[in-house]
């Protein structure tokens, strides 16, 4: 995916349809990010006070986890894209190893996020508690669902690599899933400082 090239590719990696989905998702989350940022202006003290209930350390660890999982996915894609007809089995096996690491990271993210939700809901916080938590829950639960879907997609790709299902001229589905996972990472990269750090 990241190989240096002087000739620009005509289309982005993966199925074109995934890029339509990615652009729509980016716009949807972008509106929620801006909704949060502009709503904060009308009640800065309440936003700052509510933010204190969040665990910055778990947000930080989850950021590292997602960045690292994306890194593993890039490694997997590079392995597959360099595959030759002679190295199909070996490349699929190597890619499956990288994917397994990425999936484990995804599960790690979900476990940490779930424990955060458990604490927040245990405190009796709901969507209607205040505007901060309305945006917090909308953003993070929506993102959580994307991580679940992304993990399922990666798991399906992983299963296909285990049977050496990707070939040198047929790995577009692999790139499609990888692109979706990077989008999930990109969204969290904006979400983390906005919701957990800025005050």
């Amino acid at each position: 995916m990241s190989q240096k090239s002087t000739i620009k590719e005509k289309f982005p990696p993966g199925d074109f349809a995934i890029w339509i989905i990615i652009y729509v998702e980016l716009i949807t989350f972008g509106l929620l990010f801006l909704g949060y940022a502009f709503s904060r202006r009308s009640n800065i003290e309440m936003f700052n006070e509510s933010q204190l209930l969040l665990n910055q350390t778990s947000g930080f660890i989850n950021t590292l986890i997602l960045i690292t999982s994306s890194y593993f996915v890039v490694q997997a894609v590079q392995t597959i894209s360099k595959m030759t007809k002679e190295s199909i089995k070996e490349s699929n096996q190597k890619a499956s190893k990288w994917l397994l690491y990425a999936i484990l990271c995804g599960i790690g993210f979900l476990v940490i996020k779930f424990s955060e939700f458990y604490y927040i809901f245990g405190e009796g916080i709901t969507l209607s508690t205040n505007k901060f938590f309305m945006f917090y829950l909308l953003l993070t639960v929506f993102h959580f669902m994307h991580v679940i879907l992304g993990s399922v997609i990666l798991f399906n790709i992983y299963n296909k690599t285990k049977i050496a299902g990707y070939k040198p001229d047929d790995y577009r589905g692999f790139e499609t899933g990888a692109s979706y996972w990077h989008m999930v990472d990109l969204l969290w990269i904006v979400l983390f400082p906005l919701v957990y750090i800025i005050r």
Binding site: V74, L186, I189, P193
Partner: protein
Amino acid sequence: MKTITNIWIILVILTIFAYLLGYLKLINSSLVAILLITTFIKGALVIDYFMGLKTVKLKYRLIPILWLGTVISLITVAYYLPI
């Protein structure tokens, strides 16, 4: 491979920077600007190198970069605009 590893290291360093600003309660209005700039850099690195759009025709790269720039710019406006 080496480039991607370097990108990952940069992303990790910038994430640690963001966390320390919050954890050590150093965050103030001037550091928010720096934090948002680093967030833009992180997002752009993911778009270019992880999503692989650096080697794709400009229009496909521009859409997420413009999205990121617009979102970060408007968050900055929302933070700094006098109430």
